[in-house]
C-alpha cells in the first residue's frame, strides 16, 4: 500500500487547490459573488472526495490514496480510460469549435501537452534501448547458449556444425 501521511486528505486537497484557482479565475471574470459560489461547489466536491476516500471499496482506496497493488492497477486502468475519453472529447469539441468559428488553440495546446507527456512517460518508464545486456550468450537458467548464426565460421556453418560453446 502507498505510505503517506494523512493519505485520505491528499485528493481533496488537490481538488481544493485546483478548484480555488478556477474560482479565482471566475472571480476575475464574473465578480467575486460568482467566485464564492464556485468555491462552495469546490469545497462540497472536496468533502465528497474525502467521504468516498474512507469507503471500503476500490474507488475509496484509490481516491483515499490507501490502495494496494491491485487497486493501483485499477486506478491506472481507470486513468487510461478517462484519458482516452478526454482525447475523443477534445477532438469532437475541436471540430465543433472550428465549425462555429471559435478559437481552437486551447484544444491544440491540450493535444500537444498530452502527446509530450505521453512520450516523456514512455522514455521515463521504458527500458533504455542502449542498455548493455549482461547475460549475452547465457540462458535464464545459466546455461551457455550457442553463439548467433552470424558468429559461426564459414566451414562450420556450411557443414551444419555449431561453433564451440
Amino acid at each position: 500500500m502507498t505510505r503517506k501521511k494523512h493519505p485520505r486528505l491528499w485528493t481533496p486537497s488537490v481538488a481544493v487547490l485546483a478548484g480555488t484557482g478556477i474560482a479565482c479565475a471566475v472571480g476575475i471574470h464574473k465578480g467575486w459573488g460568482s467566485a464564492l459560489v464556485a468555491e462552495v461547489v469546490v469545497l462540497g466536491w472536496a468533502f465528497c472526495l474525502y467521504m468516498v476516500g474512507g469507503d471500503d471499496t476500490d474507488a475509496g482506496a484509490v481516491i483515499g490514496q490507501h490502495d494496494d497493488e491491485r487497486q493501483q492497477l485499477v486506478g491506472r486502468r481507470a486513468a487510461r480510460l478517462s484519458l482516452t475519453v478526454v482525447l475523443f472529447a477534445i477532438v469532437i469539441l475541436c471540430v465543433i469549435a472550428a465549425a462555429a468559428h471559435y478559437a481552437i488553440w486551447p484544444f491544440e495546446v491540450l493535444v500537444v501537452v498530452i502527446a509530450i507527456s505521453y512520450f516523456v512517460g514512455l522514455g521515463f518508464y521504458g527500458v533504455d534501448p542502449d542498455a548493455e545486456a549482461e547475460d549475452v550468450g547465457r540462458s535464464r537458467f545459466g546455461w551457455k547458449l550457442p553463439p548467433p548464426q552470424d558468429h559461426i565460421d564459414g566451414d562450420a556453418a556450411d557443414s551444419g556444425r555449431l561453433g564451440a560453446c
Partner: protein
C-alpha cells in the same frame, strides 16, 4: 489460496489485514480474477508456510 485460508480458520478480511492488502484483493486472487505480483505471491506463500509454486499452480484454474 481459499483452501489454505479456510484451513487456517481465517476470514478474507483477516488474511487481507495480515498480508497488508485490501479484502477485495484477497477476493480477486481467490476467484482467479487477479494474479498477484511476485512479492505478494511470496508473501502469501510465506504466510501459509508453503512453496510458492504449490500455492500458485500455473496449471490449476482457480475459478474452478
Amino acid at each position: 489460496m481459499r483452501e489454505q485460508r479456510i484451513e487456517a480458520g481465517l476470514s478474507q478480511a483477516d488474511l487481507a489485514a495480515s498480508l497488508g492488502v485490501s479484502r477485495q484483493t484477497v477476493i480477486s486472487i481467490e476467484s482467479g480474477r487477479y494474479l498477484p505480483s511476485l512479492p505478494l505471491a511470496f508473501r502469501i506463500a510465506g504466510f501459509f508456510v508453503m512453496p510458492v509454486e504449490k500455492m500458485f499452480d500455473p496449471e490449476e484454474d482457480p475459478s474452478e
